[in-house]
Symmetry: C2
Subunit: 310 residues, 2 copies
Amino acid sequence: MSFDDVELRHLRALRAVAEEGSFIGAADILGFSQAAISQQIAGLERAVGQAVFDRPGGPRPVTLTPAGRILLRYAEDINTQIEAAEHDLSDLASGTAGRLRIGTYQSVSVQLLPEIVATLRHAAPDLAISLVEQDEQHVLIDALLSGAIDVTFLTGPITDARLDLTELGTDPFVVVLQADGPLAQENPGRSIPSAALEGVPMVGQHDCDCQMQIDNGLRACGVRPRYVFRSNDNGALQGMVRAGMGPAVMPLLAVDRGDPGIVVKQLEPPMEPRTIIVAVPKGATPMPAADRLIRIAKTAGRKRLARAPR
Amino acid sequence: MSFDDVELRHLRALRAVAEEGSFIGAADILGFSQAAISQQIAGLERAVGQAVFDRPGGPRPVTLTPAGRILLRYAEDINTQIEAAEHDLSDLASGTAGRLRIGTYQSVSVQLLPEIVATLRHAAPDLAISLVEQDEQHVLIDALLSGAIDVTFLTGPITDARLDLTELGTDPFVVVLQADGPLAQENPGRSIPSAALEGVPMVGQHDCDCQMQIDNGLRACGVRPRYVFRSNDNGALQGMVRAGMGPAVMPLLAVDRGDPGIVVKQLEPPMEPRTIIVAVPKGATPMPAADRLIRIAKTAGRKRLARAPR
DNA sequence: CGTCGACATCATGAATAGTGATCGACACGA
DNA sequence: TCGTGTCGATCACTATTCATGATGTCGACG
């Protein structure tokens, strides 16, 4: 018989008896017989090795011993914890409260995510959403697998057996040109042949997953890109295009199409587009809030992205 | 099946499995079979209404679900509480730590209590001793019965069925005279007849339990006391005696006998002495620290007080 | 494709919790 | 002082729960 035999049942009985001042009252509250309460308290006292109640006998109320008072204080605290846990878990189950940590990267952050987050906030006002922006995809994946984030956006094509992937659609790579620059004038249509970029000084991001995909795509078209300006800020890139530094190949999502100083053209032949993906850990129990996010993201993707391939 | 069915056993299993990453490991730690752990986790999951572990199957370790992570955090907290409770209770049982609140009143505070507290501190260095000084006895008794203090000094004679009384000894009432005043010169022996006080201006305390006992005692000897100065500070009273304001009748414990300006004489016939008593609530489980205090106080009483009557 | 490792499940026996009845103690009122 | 009522303890009994060992199932790995 030791302290480890204390169970929540005992603490609940302790609380009830202390509140009611009688075993019978506690029995009523807890829905047990008086004998059950008597035995529970006896069990508790055996476990802690000392009496927790003084029983004056007769119709007088039982009172806490010093040990009982100490124990009761902890019992109250523990009860509070349990209730908080219950609350948190029901929040989690409903997906409408608690915490959702979302991994994201720049181009998604700019255009797609604000709309998704707004919708999610509206659907679950008490959900604490936190965003982790990180342009290196493998870092996002590591964070997801380690539990540092609950769900993350990624770009495909990608296959990873440890992830559960949901494709939202595709985001084509486009060429961004100075609106009245020579390349735009030479190519008045909606597209521009990839050969037109060969040897042209360009602007682009610093080496990252996204830029590598662009460069690989260009090389596949026979273009060896030459960069005269690099920045990871899409607005800065677009500003440089506008200023005539050179064209940029960017994912469409990253382009601010309201800018009159630039024009957007499709590459001919088109590069394989990247797919926008939401990922959660494979096999792991999903957070309902993450499920909700994915549903919302799919809706947003249908509206804002090209149809997903296959 | 509801959240109320969660028991500490479940949380212990949760912790063990989460730490070990396997049911079998947890079973080893807790000293159960693997089947038992499996059932405990299953019971926990039924109680909370959602899975707490993802079982990937095969030799890969089980991992917490989001719900499991939340629950585990609370489980850790609760475990901490339980351990703290165990610690506090063992402190209480040994009486060497924790908290002891002692009720006291002025004359005990001055001479008897410092020695007792010093001894107690030496015997139980980690015990947090707090003193509540209050000269109105019924307030001390109320505080004791309501649990605001754990043990209190009182003065007798007293009978109260709600209290468990321990008499430490008696503290006689004595007459304090100006050393070279007329009353001292007229009564060179060790005692003074009560009649000598009749009509003499005296100094005494404001009306309190103690002073009432003195006045009743004097009246029983046929003396109607007349006070020309009152203070509840024993030092002030003694100073007034020294200054020749008049004699005082005080409990011996309250007299600073090292003062050469005063002499102490027994009253003849003697008044019924007050008894010094330590009280704890009757019937209630005693605090071991209170028991220890009482034992120490009895020793101190034997040394410093007259033998307790009968 | 078979084996191994790990969890689930099942049948069983033991421990335990809960129940209703009864006992004993105490305060209170006649 | 003696019922009397109230309350907790205890008892015997029942139902539930718990733990076990054996077996089943699933996935990973070679």
